[in-house]
Amino acid sequence: MKLKLKIWRQENREAKGNMISYDVEGISEHMSFLEMLDLLNERLITKGERVIEFDHDCREGICGACGMMINGRAHGPLSGTTTCQLHMRSFKDGETLYIEPFRAAAFPVLRDLKIDRTAFDHVIQSGGYVSASTGQAPESNSILIPHDITEAAFDAAACIGCGACVATCKNSSAALFTSAKISHLVLLPQGKTESADRVIQMVNQMDEEGFGHCSNTDACEVECPQEISTLHIGRMNYEYNKALLLRK
């Protein structure tokens, strides 16, 4: 395959970036999208140019590092897929691809396709935990949880923090991410006790980090590689409203 790539190049956080064109030949359709970028980078190294920097870690769709905008869509044209799980067979020979970083005021671009997702960490630190005095791990059957509840909690916990929901949202809202964390904890007995404080703190933090509000367009659910349901946003709102009314 032969492709024309237009890739966002930006020197650092402060610099102004722009799109640079690259013609890449000899791409196999079996390559993953990241392998295709590796191929381009090898060629750039031989030519003595600075490589295109992008985040990646697991390359098996579970770490959430590899987020980027491909042809105007988060993680590319497929729904429910990370960039590392996207393969070149999804594109046509001779096509032009536009590759950009995820953009949001809360996700500053560090360099090229790499962004700073620390804002997500701050949201988690503000309440996405269960306070427990540590010690021996408790006997696993001492708290009985029905199977469907553990499954529902696990579905929410499957969020990999990739940021696609923010990137695809017209408001750059982190509602899907935050609600996944809230749902996952509130469904389980260990997480329930702190649910009121948690939801208030995490929603406050979401605003503080500069994310927008949720307009319920449901775009995030389509692009989320873990297919986290927007019903979790409903649950977050429920928990928030309940906390507003009942919290002491």
Binding site: K6, W8, M19, M69, N71, G72, R73, A74, S79, Y98, E100, R103, A104, A105, A106, F107, P108, V109, T168, K170, N171, S172, S173, V203, N204, M206, D207, G210, F211, G212, H213, C214, S215, N216, T217, D218, A219, V222, E223, T230, L231, H232, I233, G234, R235, N237, Y238, E239, Y240, N241, K242, L244
Partner: protein
């Protein structure tokens, strides 16, 4: 309590739902215009008079004015927050492929509704309250004639029809969205609300759209 955008959204959902409720009452009242002309004149004028004198209706009308203002003010506030939340623009943007147009453009639809409301208030509400209206046979202000006369103008009918279409799309997303904002997360009921939202939006929109068209084509004097 810290003011978050979620609280703003909550106010928008509550005021929006109150407006949704009001639209039902308003439409039912207006459907009287479809009765045979002489009966309609008597009924509609009597009904309008009834509304203007009643204390309960007075309270509801103040809640209504307040709701419209609060809804629009918070719409403006969250729109500004959103503008700030966005990073630099995407060079190549196809994000619109994964969501509906009306869900992304509630602000534009709302602005059309707001402009419509200003015209609507000026032409009927203001005239009824402060204008010099002729009286009908029962001694009630003859709003009926004002309404029928205004819908003899084609451009006025078109203005109304276009505004109702904007309202319809606003409702279609708004009804569902408000349920989500209020915290509906149960799959079965969330699906039910989508269907109820569709039925509600269609009924309200088509109901309001019918009246000017009926008057224009059937009561052409």
């Amino acid at each position: 309590m810290k003011q978050t955008t979620l609280i703003y959204k909550l106010i928008m959902a509550l005021t929006g739902l109150f407006l949704c409720f009001f639209l039902i009452i308003h439409l039912l009242g207006n459907l009287q215009l479809l009765s045979p002309p002489e009966l309609a004149r008597e009924q509609f004028n009597w009904y309008s008079h009834l509304l203007s004198g009643n204390i309960v209706i007075k309270i509801i009308s103040y809640v209504l004015y307040l709701s419209i203002i609060a809804h629009a003010v918070y719409a403006l506030i969250i729109t500004r927050v959103n503008a700030k939340a966005q990073g630099s623009k995407y060079i190549y943007d196809k994000r619109s492929e994964v969501s509906s147009w009306n869900s992304r453009n509630m602000g534009i639809l709302g602005t059309i509704i707001l402009i419509f409301l200003i015209i609507h208030f000026k032409d009927y509400w203001y005239i009824y309250k402060f204008g010099n209206l002729p009286l009908d046979a029962d001694g009630n202000k003859d709003l009926y004639t004002i309404v029928i006369t205004s819908f003899q103008q084609a451009w006025y009918v078109i203005l109304y029809e276009l505004s109702f279409i904007a309202l319809g799309f606003h409702l279609l997303h708004g009804f569902f969205s408000a349920a989500r904002t209020l915290g509906l997360y149960h799959l079965r009921y969330a699906q039910a609300i989508r269907i109820v939202g569709w039925i509600y939006s269609l009924a309200i929109t088509l109901g309001f759209m019918l009246i000017p068209i009926y008057i224009y084509f059937n009561l052409n004097s």
